[in-house]
Amino acid sequence: MAEYSLQEMTAITAARGVRNSDIILCGTGIATLAAIAAKKITAPGVSIFFETGAVDVQFKQMPLSLADPRIMHGAIRLAGLAESFAIIQNRTTGRNILSILGAAQIDPYGNLNSTAIGDFRRPKVRFSGSGGGCDIGSLAGRFWIFMELGIRKFVEKVDYLTTPGFLDGPGAREKAGLPGGGPERVITNKATFRFDAESRQMYLHSYYPGFTPAAIQAEVGFKIDLTRAVEEEPPTEHELNILRTQCDPDKMVLKS
């Protein structure tokens, strides 16, 4: 079996879930890596776009921000935020959008905090803020979340609800009036989670080879359903080879 890092496992696991018809709305880092891997390995039809307004981006080099000139050359369209968020809010075009987000905290309903820890007016830790995260969580057809597993990241209640998951449970998004589909998967460095169709709560969907459901639960700050968990397939030689040589050859995201 091929040797691989957890980061590689994470990117490949995410890439495998992308549909060929998806329009991927991308963040930087491992989100971009997973999107490129999906396009090169399983879903050549996907179009990758950035909220800054770059559409169907070609990747000669890994971008380091949502405005990196590397996402500009070769794109089919360079617009601005007004146009890109209208595409996401528009019910016809927004439906096909899959976005991949990160955050500092996540709760059982997939609500995300990327704003502050502690009192938001005088925070113990201040983060960047929503950026487009709240917009995407509110409006996009569906979204996934990339997080590193950890007891301080997977919390019972987020200190600041920046990006809406299923809010406080079944029917809450609809009641609030949110048009987007909400969170679908949480992909971490050790396991993946999905959301129960009834309770809207996160459950363990899969754990990576070498881990156990109990070990995953120990790193989550709330009780999760472990009964549906299966072991994830490790990446193949073929997948790893494409990831390493074609997706991030300069090792800007992958740690060497």
């Binding site: 909220e51 000669k60 609809e174």
Partner: protein
């Protein structure tokens, strides 16, 4: 205003248009196209109590806050991409309570500028329903009552008045922003203030059109006839612009599409180190901002060789050989 006399030195433009307490907005996005030359001049002139606004801005807002110029910030994201997931002086000042922050989203900030540009008091969106963006207000209702420069509410929820169904159809109305001054760094402008922006536009155009005054810093002042060759690219017009300043490398250390790349040394090694430490930060401001008379002297400190290493390849618009790790 007429077009005569819009071309001026950066120091004069800041003296004329950036006043204590002004509502000021900055173009660019994370590590690209931030008007850093202008930011340094504002710090040098010791402008105080600014109310700064932007969509997603790292370096410009961060240095301005660190320079002691800012009292309030309306923003969606304070970071510099992979270089600074949260920018440093912004974070420090927010945690110490030295600045007040009003959190909006990128779309909301864009809509606020767009409303200002359209001359309407607000625009609606579905974003942020059910979140703390709606529930938690950085500026209290009391602050808002007492200060006529602030909108009386952060935002307002409203049911769609055209709704014919039984389903909930609720919207978030965000208040227009009309900055006293917007500062953008552009690739090209003419002497009258017609502006050509290349590459992604972020919310630069909406910001400019919303603003009472616009200061354009640019790499090159060109002849109007040059701009007439690509009129579809001239997003900002002379009658929207008050000052035009030619400042080569005016966005350094952030990137400018087709002109230069970002500087990984500055953004990854140098800046985080000085910005995380108060004593080192004071040293940086003293040497690199107050210790120089103008942008040219700052660029001398950075070094010609470093700048040349960032020059963009003509075809791709960045430097594909840049060492970024």
């Amino acid at each position: 205003m007429g077009n005569a006399g819009k071309v001026m030195e950066l120091s004069e433009a800041v003296e004329r248009y950036v006043h204590d307490g002004a509502l000021i907005s900055f173009g660019g996005f994370s590590a690209t196209q931030c008007p850093l030359a202008a930011v340094h001049e504002i710090i040098r002139q010791r402008v105080r109590n600014l109310h700064a606004t932007s969509c997603s801005n790292g370096q410009a807002i961060d240095e301005l806050i660190g320079g002691g110029c800012v009292e309030r910030v309306d923003i969606a994201y304070g970071g510099t991409g992979r270089f600074a997931p949260t920018c440093f002086r912004f974070r420090r000042s927010a945690e110490k309570g030295e600045i007040a922050v009003e959190d909006y989203t990128n779309y909301q900030m864009t809509l606020r500028f767009m409303a200002g540009a359209m001359g309407v008091p607000f625009l609606p969106t579905y974003t942020s329903l059910g979140t703390d963006i709606v529930n938690k207000w950085g500026y209290s209702e009391e602050d808002r009552r007492e200060d006529p420069r602030l909108p009386p509410k952060k935002l307002v929820l409203m049911d769609n008045p055209f709704n014919r169904t039984e389903q909930v159809d609720r919207l978030v109305l965000v208040p227009a922003l009309q900055p006293d001054i917007t500062i953008l760094h552009a690739q090209k402008a003419d002497r009258c203030g017609n502006v050509q922006l290349l590459g992604l536009l972020y919310s630069d155009v909406e910001q400019a059109k919303a603003s009472k005054n616009v200061m354009i810093t640019c790499e090159q002042i060109v002849e109007t006839d040059d701009l007439r060759k690509d009129p579809d690219r001239n997003q900002i017009l002379s009658f929207q612009v008050s000052a035009v300043v030619e400042v080569p490398w005016g966005a350094y250390p952030t990137a400018l599409y087709r002109y230069y790349d970002y500087d990984p040394w500055f953004l990854r090694e140098f800046y985080p180190q000085v910005a995380k430490d108060d004593a080192q930060w004071e040293g940086y401001v003293a040497k690199y901002i107050h210790g120089v008379k103008n942008r040219a002297e700052f660029l001398e400190l950075i070094g010609r060789e470093r700048l040349e290493s960032l020059r963009a390849d003509e075809e791709v618009g960045y430097n594909p050989r840049l060492e970024r790790r």
